[in-house]
Amino acid sequence: MKVDLTVNGSQHTVDVADNALLSDVLRETLGLTGTHVGCDTSQCGACTVHLDGRSVKACTVLAGQADGGDVTTIEGIANGDDLHPMQVAFRANHALQCGFCTPGMIMSAIDLVQTADSPLSAEEVREGLEGNFCRCTGYHNIVKAVLDAQANM
């Protein structure tokens, strides 16, 4: 099956199996291993990317469903050496421990901040990141980082 995707601004036509997941295409076909697959059961959110501007769990999108779509992964948010404000805030606030959940957390957090009508409270950040697990349980600094980043986005 041929699938056309724009990933981080580059166009790709990939030939993949009918049952391929978007996460398979990103990691295995395109080598973008920043998108992590944690649970593969659409619970943990480590595989979160943006599809047509909104956060989705790439392990729960069929490649064929994403055909023609515009995908942004963790590799696509920095501008050269200039990190995205959310990445800067995660670093400044020590919002990662083992780092496995971080790409998904950052992609979810960016969508959360971008779609918010008004500045988010800590509680709203916690609710908004409900679809992302940090098994180091480092949530406190993640919330701090998102609150910090929203001022700079």
Partner: protein
């Protein structure tokens, strides 16, 4: 991942043809239930027919006191539609953000998970379901566990929600999945008070004893002492049938309190 053929339909006719020509086909909309089910081999179709390329199925519009929600409208889109605040609030509490960005109302209703939120809205608000073949009253749509009035291959086009005078949805969510252990929509509509309950039974249902009580007195106290028969309710590791029975009353009271606040 389970092996299947992915078939992309560009219009309704093609979708039906692809479905009919397969010995075992399933439609996919957002895939928020289907894809995990395929991974777990809970579903094992030969062909998966994708409906996402069919034009005109995702529009949301409002006219003459009716909110029409296209079957492919995503939960996030319904959550952002303020015509019926109780419906928007319900959509905004489905699953998590990523699920709301992919999952669709048509997919949810066709799947008819006993713990899904939308069935409570369809029953509570007195919605009508329009398919590519006919119109089905919401009251006739939910048949049993994961079973609806849809025929094999039939496709939901849109759901029409009459705007209620006032309505509210309260749910006791499973902490992990955010599915409704019990969810109750209470609405005062042009055709009277309606109470739709999800999560408690094999599929969503109306609770006429509550509707009758609230018709004469729209207050939480009107529900005191009304017995909820939980003998056929779901019982699992999350909640016993009796506990769900108790939650029906508690959630209905919360919904009434929200609605009258």
């Amino acid at each position: 991942m389970y092996t299947f053929n992915f078939r992309r339909a560009s219009n309704l006719e093609e979708a039906q043809q692809l479905h009919q020509s397969s010995s075992d086909a399933v439609y996919v909309s957002g895939g928020m239930t289907l894809i995990p089910s395929l991974k777990l081999r809970l579903a094992s179709p030969d062909d998966v027919v994708d409906l996402s390329r069919i034009d005109g199925l995702s529009a949301i519009s409002s006219a003459d006191g009716v909110l029409s929600v296209g079957a492919m409208a995503r939960h996030c889109d319904v959550a952002a539609t303020t015509d019926i605040p109780a419906l928007a609030a319900l959509a905004n509490r489905i699953g998590d953000a990523q699920v709301r960005n992919r999952g669709t109302i048509g997919g949810s209703l066709a799947n008819n998970d006993p713990a899904a939120d939308y069935p409570a809205a369809v029953l509570g608000l007195g919605a009508t379901i329009h398919t590519n073949r006919r119109t089905i009253a919401g009251d006739d749509f939910f048949v049993d566990l994961f079973e609806t009035a849809l025929d094999d291959g039939e496709i939901i086009m849109r759901v029409d929600f009459p705007t209620p005078k006032r309505a509210a949805y309260a749910k006791f969510a499973n902490q992990a999945s955010k599915y409704a252990v019990v969810g109750v929509m209470v609405a005062e509509t042009d055709s009277g008070v309606r109470v739709g309950v999800t999560g408690a039974g094999a599929c969503a249902f109306r609770l006429t004893s509550f509707e009758d009580a609230l018709s004469t007195n729209m207050s939480a106290s009107a529900l005191a002492g009304i017995d909820v028969d939980s003998s056929d309710f779901n019982s699992d590791l999350h909640a016993s049938a009796a506990y769900r029975g108790s939650l029906v009353t508690v959630m209905a009271k919360q919904a009434v309190e929200q609605l009258t606040a």
